[in-house]
Subunit: 368 residues, 2 copies
């Protein structure tokens, strides 16, 4: 796989002043010591990964880092969103303190979004902040959590409710890892890629439509372009609004419905990307009802989500449960649910919507 | 008590760019709605306090805030350093999520350092950051945790190991609260006030020596000056080094030995300020051995610590246990303990010291 890609990685720079960092995108990067040449040197590093990813890539990363750190330890967490909680986070602190890690110790997050979010929050909080590097091994993590500095764990009453804005020193998107990704996970990543079209870039949306089969078939060149362009768009938005006071919220297109699905079914039942894929279809219907887009565009988006292998009908949690779950979304203010809606294809805005209208959308989009 | 103070509070500004905030110092401030006139308005506020402070001041603060928030709830945590852990922190998240608190909700920390540290970390982490206000009710919290933005909880393997740098919007030092403070707690606060002399300002040290009896007797004018000057010195140091990469570490004079005492005896056995008072004496002896100060100054500092009602002899944990505990201090690097030592009265530096020398100091300063 790496042989079909250019030998020097593509690079997207995330400009955030003294918290700026690069994203490197290419095949075989995680086993190449050169990839980590600019990571701050320290006595020790801790690779945090999970039981699924560890046997595939932990050893390679450990070897690649051996020259820069006297000790490189690996901590393997239980896999899955259900473990994105304090108990599992505490395993990272236990490992760090158990090994006497100091505040120069570098954490490496090797895995998907769950590993990235937890490792990032651990890095933000351990001794009030140690450096960390993201090595996302899922498509979703490469295009979503690699930009923006959002880290978090879940609380029984809400997803990502406890966390920090904390930037990595480097993000390494090794496209070779996508070849071992389960099909469901690949589709879940495509949901976040598709998202960037309607909210920000219709030329990219056109490109995704034309290349969806190549993406589903894991064509390395198509994946490289999709990852790079997604990171660029996200970087542009985040650069204007690092702490999500306004514009950045548009990146949550599909997420208000999506989080309700995930939380309502129990974390881990649907993948985050699956819930977002379906949530985008629901949010598109809501956008249409609010006068933003026409039925044809809703259909176009629905078709693309479907071709990516994602669900387009929501689970029947009951409208009241959906509303209740969405009211505790972080974007809510004083109990009013605020949705990201498409104003015109390629541009999103935040809107409140009457409960009655949301109920209509749910009735239309959910299967009994 | 408030009547002996000027009606308009003294003010120390902490200049940290867009994270700047004022400290207000005066009598009766917490029950005055005017004190909170610049706090961001929101639907709800949560006062986090403890079971000791709640009956004394929670109601007054709640009334003072009633005009600015539709709902002002009070959460009373168990009192004491032993509860500065994840389980207790989680009570804050449970309360916030249980009441549907949004990301504009303002947290008020009403209590000592433990309440301040936990509430600050909860504010830093809840939805990745909500505004918070410190209302420190102990002398130690007024002169120490009110400046610097350090928030944290303890981990079984180390104190303040999990936390964030997060600035409050406002700090309110109500001197009237010091009148209800137990004597041990007052002395504990004096330890941190005394600290500012040897590390930064010998004129202030002279003033403390001349006024130690007035301070112990809780003279309001003396306390007002001590609190203001301590905050000013700390603000100067923190302003030059917000994230503790260098200079700021001098504020930890006495803390390396002190943390070992607290942790070795079990949190809560000695008060933090008591451990710091004794730790300063130990660090002074170490400074003398490293050639920084003479025996006369060590004696002068020891005498002042004693007059403040603080212990000057450490518990006999055994030298090996002390060394082991100090090696996991956050200032350690690659297993080498780094001490804050007095270079010359009024100026501190970071130094490593040979284990043998540290053992000599421990033998000299610890009672069997």
């Amino acid at each position: 796989m790496p042989s079909t890609l250019s030998p020097s990685p593509e690079r997207v720079d995330i400009p955030l002043g003294d918290r700026s960092y690069p994203i490197l995108i290419g095949g075989g990067l995680l086993e190449d010591a050169q990839t980590f040449a600019d990571v701050p040197a320290a006595a020790s590093a801790l690779i945090v990964t999970n039981t699924t990813v560890a046997p595939l890539y932990a050893r390679q990363l450990q070897d690649a880092l051996a020259g820069r750190f006297r000790q490189v330890r690996v901590l393997s967490l239980p896999d899955g969103e259900a473990h994105k909680d304090w108990q599992t986070l505490n395993l990272i602190f236990d490992a760090l303190l158990g090994h006497g890690a100091d505040r120069k110790t570098v954490l490496f997050a090797l895995g998907g979004g769950v590993v990235g979010d937890m490792t990032g929050f651990a890095a933000a909080s351990y001794m009030r902040g140690v450096p960390f590097v993201q090595v996302p091994t899922t498509l979703l993590a490469q295009v979503d959590s690699s930009v923006g500095g959002k880290t978090a764990i879940n609380h029984p009453l809400g997803k990502n409710m406890i966390g920090a804005f904390y930037q990595p020193r480097l993000v390494v998107c090794d496209l070779a890892t996508l070849q071992t990704l389960p099909t469901r996970e690949l589709s879940a990543g495509l949901a976040e890629i598709i998202k960037y079209g309607p909210i920000a870039d219709m030329a990219f949306f056109d490109w995704i439509e034309a290349n969806i089969d190549a993406l589903v078939a894991r064509d390395p060149a198509a994946l490289a372009h999709a990852v790079r362009r997604s990171c660029e768009i996200k970087a542009e938005v985040v650069g204007q609004d690092e702490r999500e006071s306004g514009l950045r919220a548009i990146l949550n297109f599909g997420h208000t419905f999506g989080h309700a699905i995930e939380s309502g079914l129990g974390y881990g039942e649907w993948l985050h990307g699956e819930a977002v894929g379906c949530g985008m279809v629901m949010a598109a219907h809501l956008s249409q009802r609010l006068g933003g887009i026409d039925a044809a565009f809703v259909q176009r988006l629905t078709r693309l989500v479907q071709r990516a292998g994602l669900p387009v009908a929501g689970p029947d949690l009951g409208a009241e449960r959906y509303l209740e779950l969405m009211r505790i979304d972080k974007k809510s203010e004083a109990g009013e649910i605020r949705f990201v809606v498409i104003d015109t294809p390629g541009a999103a805005v935040m809107r409140a919507a009457p409960d009655a209208m949301v109920r209509e959308v749910l009735a239309q989009c959910c299967t009994a």
